[in-house]
């Protein structure tokens, strides 16, 4: 048995196993363990105060958490769909360009180059009710009331969605453009010879070819958007009155400001269900799309 462990194939993969163990597995086990304790950052001795399922039981009764959970799902659904639509549109337009495509591709990636914190500040001041660009622009056209973009029940979440979409639509555009560039020309030309119009070509040839790329982009972005924190934290901090509270702004406040890390970790593990669900759904769709294309 011991000899088996020290066989060269095992020894060769051992560095990877150790690295994954230290970087991923041990922190996961540790944080999972703390979710069963009353661990507070400011009281390290509370790490050993085992409270069983108490944190999870409290979570089930915590309406604010479930509202944040629901709000995060809504945020994910709207942001992902709009990013997909805009990204697809941009990719299709850029794919048509024969001159300056590289320059446009680079320009298109600019929003991705900004840190989310900077994006948050930028949009916070665009949407500022008093000195913001948007309200002052509206005043030019005779609008006489300050619109509370970051306060109103619906506009606040909408404003954050705009910032998130502005910053990340180009991820969709880049991935879908890569997909468009890889589509074989033969079926498209054959369809045109057979009299298909542009919409029919797009619907029956381009889109099926793009579906694997779309689902890969959706999977990546669903994991990103599910963890949205920086932009929300800067623009509204989850407020006012928790109107824009998402899972991770809530978890960060409970974990770091209240120092209640045990409870925050319990929230995190329940929140992961959301990411797993979205990832599973998109992967299922990805496999189906590949199967439709005759790929494995």
């Amino acid at each position: 048995m011991v000899r088996k462990i020290f066989r060269s194939p095992v020894m060769l993969i051992m560095p990877s196993i150790l690295a994954i163990g230290f970087v991923i597995i041990i922190p996961l086990i540790f944080s999972f363990y703390t979710s069963f304790t009353s661990y507070k950052l400011t009281r390290p001795d509370s790490l050993f105060n085992f409270v069983g399922l108490r944190n999870y039981e409290r979570l089930i009764d915590n309406a604010k958490f479930w509202y944040a959970f629901g709000r995060t799902i809504l945020f994910l659904a709207v942001v992902l769909n709009l990013e997909l639509l805009f990204g697809l549109g941009i990719a299709l337009l850029i794919n048509k360009i024969t001159w300056g495509q590289r320059t446009l591709r680079t320009i298109m990636m600019f929003p991705m180059m900004f840190s989310p914190i900077l994006v948050g500040f930028q949009w916070k001041y665009i949407f500022n009710d008093n000195i913001g660009l948007l309200n002052n622009f509206l005043y030019l056209f005779g609008y006489e009331s300050a619109i509370p973009w970051l306060i109103d029940k619906y506009l606040a979440m909408g404003s954050i969605m705009v910032a998130e979409i502005w910053a990340n639509t180009s991820i969709f555009a880049i991935l879908l453009l890569a997909g468009l560039l890889g589509i074989p020309r033969d079926p498209v030309e054959a369809a045109r010879v057979d009299g298909c119009n542009s919409w029919q070509v797009f619907k029956n040839i381009t889109l099926p070819f793009l579906m694997p790329f779309i689902f890969i982009a959706l999977t990546i972005r669903s994991l990103d958007v599910g963890r949205a924190y920086d932009i929300v934290h800067i623009m509204t901090g989850g407020g006012p009155a928790m109107r824009t509270e998402l899972l991770w702004t809530m978890i960060a406040r409970i974990g770091y400001k209240d120092a209640n890390m045990g409870f925050a970790n319990a929230m995190s593990y329940v929140s992961i269900i959301l990411s797993i669900a979205f990832t599973y759904y998109f992967f299922t769709k990805l496999v189906a799309a590949r199967r439709d294309l005759g790929q494995q």
Binding site: N128, D129, I147, L150, K153, P240, I254
Partner: protein, 450 residues
């Protein structure tokens, strides 16, 4: 862009105004000197940063390094809310071996026993110079864990010219039945704010609208209305009638559009800049903005008045107060202890406090209150003289700290979203306060208060 420019202006004004105040390197008015030969010692420190704080470090730390031979290594410098998070993470990671850290009387109780007792490290003669009540607020479980640099309490700033305008006086008297003068009660404040408002161009007043800032504002209004946050057994009582009156005051101003629509996203910079932009009539704020408000760089420079925090129906004024402080960590090596004490001495001594007070910050040393008033009188600076006499009265008669318990910040995180919910109309005042009281009850039970 306008705000960006304003922020840059404020930063430059703060920096310029403070650097313009000369420091006498011989420290002639300091009765206690804590110099020493600290050659070869490097002190690791974490400090609160930002425009109001950096100028003192820029002046004092080079002097300390020059005179003692020691070095200061600033490991981190950030806002107090960010520093608070960092310290909590440091405690969890066991990374608390640096020496000096910025602290605050409202925050210090959260961090357990990571700080050294400064009694015995800092000479008694030096401690005797501080206002006794401020030192009492700096004490946790009988241990003096921090040395106060400056205190904060708020009073009401107003634009003078609008109160002196005869037409305004006539219109106000006709509408409200009493003479127009800066408000003396919370009701007058509300009425006048509504009277002045002409949104979106001009607002009657404003308030900081989120996090601990609005919790503190609510807290002082509860006291002014004759209520309390907790009873003697630490059970929440802020949802009683006094608490409801306090919260209703915020709600009424918001509903009347007497405050900017985005006020629930405002913190101190937004309110300070808003008042200096000349678009707000009445602004509750600390003294640290005073020199800037009245400067040529502010749109209301030379037109700024100041009155004490108006009284509530309980016959008391608001006076939520605290002090910015410095602490020495237990993890600071013994051989660096004397140098660490020397560093916090130079950041809190008479010369440092005079330097800060010239910009409007409130001293924590008894003698500095008199000396700064004398200096301003001698210069014929009536505005600053009035600032210090007003704030001195507040510190002596009105100031009170938040409950000095570790649960203050978690409590604040429970109550502030509920206050906001009532203000924006998602809940009634009673519903919001009852919900916050219920959750606070759990918090206090879990913490073992009852």
């Amino acid at each position: 862009m306008k705000l960006f420019k304003s922020i840059l202006t404020v930063i430059s004004i703060f920096s310029l105004s403070f650097s313009a105040f000369a420091v006498d390197k011989s420290f002639p008015n300091d009765k206690v000197a804590m110099w020493g030969d600290f050659s070869g010692i490097t002190l690791d420190v974490k400090l609160i940063g930002g425009a109001p704080y950096d100028p003192l470090y820029e002046v004092m730390i080079p002097i300390w390094e020059e005179k003692t031979g020691g070095k200061v290594s600033i490991l981190s410098k950030k806002s107090h809310f960010e520093l608070d998070k960092e310290i909590k993470q440091d405690i969890a990671a066991g990374n608390i071996s640096y020496c000096v850290v910025s602290n605050h009387t409202s925050f210090a109780t959260q961090y357990g026993d990571i700080y050294r007792d400064l009694n015995g490290i800092v000479p008694g003669d030096f401690l005797a110079e501080f206002v006794p009540l401020v030192l009492e607020h700096s004490t946790v479980d009988g241990r003096l864990v921090q040395l106060p640099q400056h205190s904060d309490v708020s009073n009401l700033w107003y634009i003078k010219s609008i109160y002196e305008d005869e037409d305004n006086k006539k219109r106000f008297k006709a509408e409200y039945g009493y003479d127009l003068a800066p408000p003396e009660t919370l009701d007058q404040w509300k009425e006048q704010a509504i009277f002045w408002s002409d949104p979106p161009n001009f607002y009657g007043t404003q308030y900081v609208g989120k996090e601990e800032a609005i919790t503190g504002r609510f807290y002082e209004l509860v006291i002014a209305e004759g209520g309390a946050l907790f009873d003697n057994e630490w059970r929440p009582t802020f949802n009683d009638e006094a608490g409801q009156r306090a919260l209703q005051w915020f709600v009424d101003l918001y509903n009347a559009q007497a405050v900017p629509a985005g006020v629930l996203n405002y913190l101190w910079d937004e309110t300070g800049l808003g008042f200096a932009s000349g678009t707000v009539a009445l602004n509750l704020d600390w003294g640290g903005w005073g020199a800037y408000f009245n400067s040529a760089d502010s749109k209301i420079g030379g037109d700024v008045g100041l009155v004490r925090f108006p009284m509530g129906s309980g016959g008391k004024r608001g006076g939520w107060s605290g002090s910015h402080t410095y602490s020495i960590l237990n993890g600071c090596p013994e051989e660096n202890l004397e140098a660490a004490a020397s560093l916090i001495w130079i950041l809190t001594n008479h010369e440092a406090q005079m330097h800060e007070a010239r910009g409007g910050k409130l001293p924590t040393m008894t003698r500095v209150w008199d000396d700064i008033a004398g200096e301003m009188n001698a210069e014929g600076n009536a505005f600053m003289s009035d600032l210090f006499s007003t704030f001195k009265a507040s510190m002596a008669e009105d100031a009170f700290t938040p409950p000095l318990i570790p649960e203050w910040i978690p409590f604040s995180n429970i109550i502030f979203p509920e206050l906001q919910a009532a203000i924006v109309g998602d809940k009634t005042v009673k519903e919001a306060l009852d919900a916050a009281a219920k959750e606070t009850d759990y918090l206090m039970q879990d913490a073992g208060y009852y």
